[in-house]
């Protein structure tokens, strides 16, 4: 059965270009065994602990929740569930402190724990082979698992490969190349069996890739041995798994633990620019993610705690601790004898890629693999940067073969075109260049800023393009409408011209008919006047209609006279009618009377006219 555990000797490894060897500082946290942290009085569980959309809260303030109960539901595919890490009562849902370099706030569910730590009902599964792959992925998704190595990529999404992506290599990442961090080392030593079982589970989900590799840096011999023993035991217990797990120790070199870097070291394959590792047939998952996925399927346990390395000279106890997600960092530190006066800063993650925590009340989340409470001597404040002497040591250190000093010049010059042609977006921000820089120039900081400004420029350009497009459409539409209006106006004008001409010709005919032959031709003004009269006559309605109109006018005048004569009613009974109001009323009555008289006169005049004119033919 030993054949199922391949040793390193026969395996070809590819060399990581560049890379550095910073002091490892891993022994401090490996002196004591793994322990469990007590339950804090309050858990602060952020709804977004992964890459993607934040989960939607599905509990209400005051609600009783049990340990492992879903309290935030994944929104869309690219998201992850959030669970209660212990039992208690939801005391608030709203903006809270997040473990983020900017000190940004985000939605957090606060649980007042009851100390009972009572589990919700879990659905265990004895044999996952009888379940289909989609069900297994759904289980992993329900458990809210996101990459525990630090990226927080939703694991279910990673495992749902496209039909075009044939996965031939599953890589379990136990490299853990960052100094200080030993969380994965500890996990591999303590839960080696879970890592092995999880690897086979994922192999089953991924249609049994030809190679199953666990890549570990050679500075973790205990973890390697533990995994080899676990793999052997597993194969004795379940001989049906034919594919051996290759436990490969790789040379210790930072940053060989980056997914792309590890894939390159183990398989020699590079992920082409703009593609995912699945496109070249490789899937890479962190050891802790694999073990958690196994627990999720086997025991139905969601992701509610993780192993975190709590380390640094500002602590009296340095060790690995299994921490409930949502436990405040200051609570964790207080349990380990944190001395504020000694500390230079508290870093979440390792010294190469971690970030300074602005507020210690932030909680431990899914991606918190290390809390580094560094003493002032340990991580001193960097000295002021000196001039770049173009020594090129940075280019030697770059694991993705960039030219860091060129990028630095272009970043200073804000030459975004050159930055992009020098592939700034391929920078993995591993910090190797800044680490080796003899002038202590914070190169990565420059690249981060440059990337940010390019991203916002691109976004702004997109916005500007969209509004320009909108503006152009609008201009076009208005022009079209104007053209239509103009065309209509032209048509009306033409029709009017035609009508006028027709009329003029008719009038002229009429006039010429009654005119004396010796009379000179009618001047144009006269023609216009006659045309106007003709028009007026044409507009004029029949005598009956005119009479009705006049009668209506008379009626309206009489009505208004009546309403004017009506006695005044005070709006407010307290105030009597004033003399002024009476005068106004009098004048209104007078006006109305005048109007009535005028209307009567017009009607009488019309009637008289009707009588005088002969009936029309």
């Amino acid at each position: 059965m030993n054949s199922l555990v391949k040793t390193n000797t026969l395996i070809k490894l590819w060399e990581l270009p560049g890379g550095i060897h910073p002091p490892e500082n891993k022994q401090q946290s490996m002196q004591l065994p793994l322990t469990q942290l007590s339950i804090p009085a309050q858990l602060f569980i952020p709804l977004n602990q992964h890459i993607g959309a934040p989960a939607l809260p599905i509990v209400q303030v005051g609600e009783q929740v049990l340990k492992g109960q879903v309290i935030g539901l994944a929104e869309g595919t690219f998201s992850a569930n959030v669970h209660a890490s212990s039992s208690g009562i939801v005391s608030s849902i709203g903006p809270g402190i997040l473990p983020h370099p900017s000190g940004m706030k985000g939605d957090v569910i606060v649980i007042d724990t009851d100390g009972k730590d009572k589990w919700t009902a879990l659905e265990a599964c004895e044999n996952y082979l009888i379940l289909d792959r989609l069900t297994l992925i759904a289980k992993i998704r329900a458990a809210g698992i996101a990459g525990l190595g630090g990226a927080g990529f939703p694991t279910a999404v990673k495992l749902s490969t496209k039909s075009t992506q044939l996965i031939d290599t599953l890589i379990v990442n136990g490299a853990e190349c960052e100094p200080y961090i030993t969380a994965d080392d500890m996990l591999m030593q303590v839960h080696a069996d879970e890592v092995i079982a999880g690897t086979y589970l994922l192999s089953h989900i991924l249609h049994n890739p030809q190679r199953l590799i666990i890549g570990i840096e050679n500075n973790k011999p205990k973890a390697i041995t533990a995994l080899q023993i676990a793999a052997k035991k597993y194969s004795e217990k379940k001989p049906e798994n034919k594919t051996p797990i290759e436990i490969i120790s790789i040379p210790t070199k930072y940053p060989s633990g980056g997914a792309k870097q590890l894939i390159h070291i183990l398989t020699g394959r590079e992920v082409p620019n703009g593609h995912h590792s699945a496109d070249i047939g490789a899937i890479c998952l962190n050891v802790a993610t694999v073990a958690t996925a196994w627990r999720a399927v086997r025991f139905g346990e969601p992701l509610i705690s993780r192993i975190t390395t709590v380390v640094g000279e500002a602590l009296s106890i340095q060790r690995n601790i299994s921490v409930l997600l949502g436990t405040p960092v200051d609570y964790v530190l207080a349990q380990q004898g944190f001395d504020k006066t000694k500390a230079s800063r508290v870093i979440i993650g390792g010294p190469m890629m971690g970030f300074t925590l602005p507020d210690l009340r932030a909680p431990v989340v899914k991606i918190t693999n290390c809390i580094l409470a560094a003493a002032k001597k340990e991580l001193p404040i960097p000295p002021p940067a000196q001039a770049c002497i173009r020594c090129g040591i940075c280019a030697e250190a770059c694991p993705v073969s960039l030219l860091p000093q060129q990028l630095f010049w272009y970043a200073q010059a804000e030459d975004t075109e050159r930055l992009q042609s020098h592939h700034i977006f391929d920078c993995i921000e591993c910090g190797a260049c800044s680490y080796v820089c003899p002038s202590k120039i914070p190169l990565v900081q420059y690249y981060r800023a440059a990337k940010g400004s390019i991203r916002s420029q691109v976004a702004e350009k997109e916005k500007a393009d969209r509004s320009r497009q909108r503006f152009e459409f609008r201009k076009e539409r208005i022009a079209k409408e104007d053209a239509e209006k103009e065309a209509k106006r032209e048509a009306r004008k033409k029709a009017a011209e035609e009508a006028k001409q027709l009329l003029t010709s008719k009038k002229t005919e009429m006039h010429s008919a009654i005119a004396i032959e010796s009379q000179p031709p009618t001047p144009p003004e006269a023609i216009l006047v006659t045309a106007a009269i003709a028009k007026a006559n044409q507009v004029e309605s029949t005598p009956a209609e005119q009479r009705i109109k006049l009668e209506r006018l008379l009626n309206t005048a009489r009505n208004s006279l009546q309403s004017a004569r009506a006695p005044l009613v005070p709006k407010n009974p307290v105030f009597p009618i004033t003399a002024e109001q009476l005068v106004q009323q009098q004048s209104r009555i007078k006006q109305a009377e005048l109007k009535v008289a005028e209307a009567e006169r017009k009607l009488a005049g019309f009637d008289a006219e009707i009588k005088n004119t002969p009936p029309s033919p």
């Binding site: 910073p22 792309k260 230079s344 040591i393 592939h423 080796v436 981060r448």
Partner: protein
């Protein structure tokens, strides 16, 4: 506790720029001591004057630029320039020559371009070339090595009166091996080696200078071991120079330019290869670029030494020429980035 927002990485390698500069200075010591062994105290006086004047000029300009004098002098770059200049100048040259050289190096070639890291040309070589063109006579008076004629090595009194008082001393200098090789057109090399003591008294190439070169080579190997620079530029320069010498050796005829060993171990070859060509500020940046840069310097050195009309050695000119070309070389030697199929020229503006 101050929660400073320091961004990653939080840890740094111990090597600092000041340390790099100090190591470069230490690495010149074997060569400097050998120079003193063969040519007397002149080199120390050169070093002393150059260091003082370079630091003074640097401090003055930094003061004028309203920067922190302590911070910028603390990087030791002015001192490195002083050492490189002092080693390039002939021992026992007048003091004002060294001071003028320091002015040219620090003020003209370095600070006027913006100070450390921004100078396109190697300051020491700019100063050397300006002096060589302006004052050809004192610049070409190289003393005779002690193992050729020990009686000609100047004592301290003579040295001081020569340097500071301008006293004329006859016969302390003689033609260098490169001068002899250049001017030879009648003798085949074996005869030349027999006739000229500076050649005949040498073990491999030329008396005294071969050991100076070997000691600078040792200093260079020390810096390589310390990873102060990569092997690419110096090795390609030496290989190119040796190949050129090999191609045109002409089996030692009177037309021969000298053997590869002769070229590698005479004049400023090793000093140039490990202390001038490796100047990171003025060279190409990528390893591929540095190979091209070094090789071109090697070829040019040979061309100027053998076929050039005026000057017996050509390291300074070759380096300055390639300083011009370094940005151009950079444009065409960007490495292939991870995940990209080919490297692209830096002129390419498309992302």
């Amino acid at each position: 506790m101050a929660l400073l927002n320091i961004t990653s990485p939080h840890t740094h390698a111990p090597l600092s720029t000041s340390q790099v500069m100090r190591l470069v200075i230490y690495a010149t010591f074997p060569g400097v001591l050998t120079l003193a062994y063969f040519f007397g105290v002149g080199i120390f006086i050169n070093l002393f004057i150059a260091s003082l004047s370079c630091l003074a000029f640097e401090a003055l300009v930094i003061k004028l630029r309203e920067r922190s004098v302590v911070f910028y002098l603390g990087d030791y770059s002015a001192l490195v320039t002083a050492f490189l200049l002092a080693i390039s100048l002939p021992p026992y040259c007048p003091w004002w020559l060294v001071v003028t050289g320091s002015f040219c190096a620090i003020v003209l070639a370095k600070q006027l371009y913006g100070g450390m890291g921004l100078n396109p040309f190697n300051p020491a070589m700019v100063a050397y070339v300006i002096l060589l063109i302006s004052f050809p006579v004192p610049m070409t008076q190289w003393p005779t090595p002690a193992n050729v004629d020990a009686s000609q090595v100047l004592g301290i009194t003579d040295a001081f009166s020569k340097i500071f008082l301008g006293k004329q001393i006859d016969g302390y200098s003689s033609a260098t091996a490169l001068d002899i090789m250049k001017q030879n057109s009648s003798l085949v090399l074996s005869e030349l080696y027999q006739n000229k003591p500076i050649l005949s008294k040498g073990a491999f190439a030329s008396a005294g200078w071969e050991w100076v070169n070997i000691m600078f080579l040792l200093g260079g190997i020390f810096l390589l071991y310390k990873k102060i620079f990569t092997w690419h530029a110096p090795v390609s320069m030496l290989v190119a120079l040796a190949l050129m010498a090999g191609f045109f050796y002409d089996s030692g005829s009177s037309e021969s330019g000298g053997s590869p060993v002769f070229h590698l171990l005479t004049g400023a070859t090793m000093f140039g290869a490990f202390f001038i060509v490796t100047d990171p500020v003025t060279s190409a940046v990528s390893n591929k670029g540095r190979i091209i840069y070094g090789a071109a310097i090697g070829i040019l050195v040979y061309i100027i030494r053998v076929w050039g009309k005026g000057y017996p050695d050509g390291v300074a000119f070759a380096v300055l020429f390639l300083n011009f070309a370094a940005p151009f070389i950079d444009y065409y030697t960007t490495p292939r980035t991870y995940g990209h199929t080919k490297s692209r020229s830096a002129l390419d503006k498309e992302p």
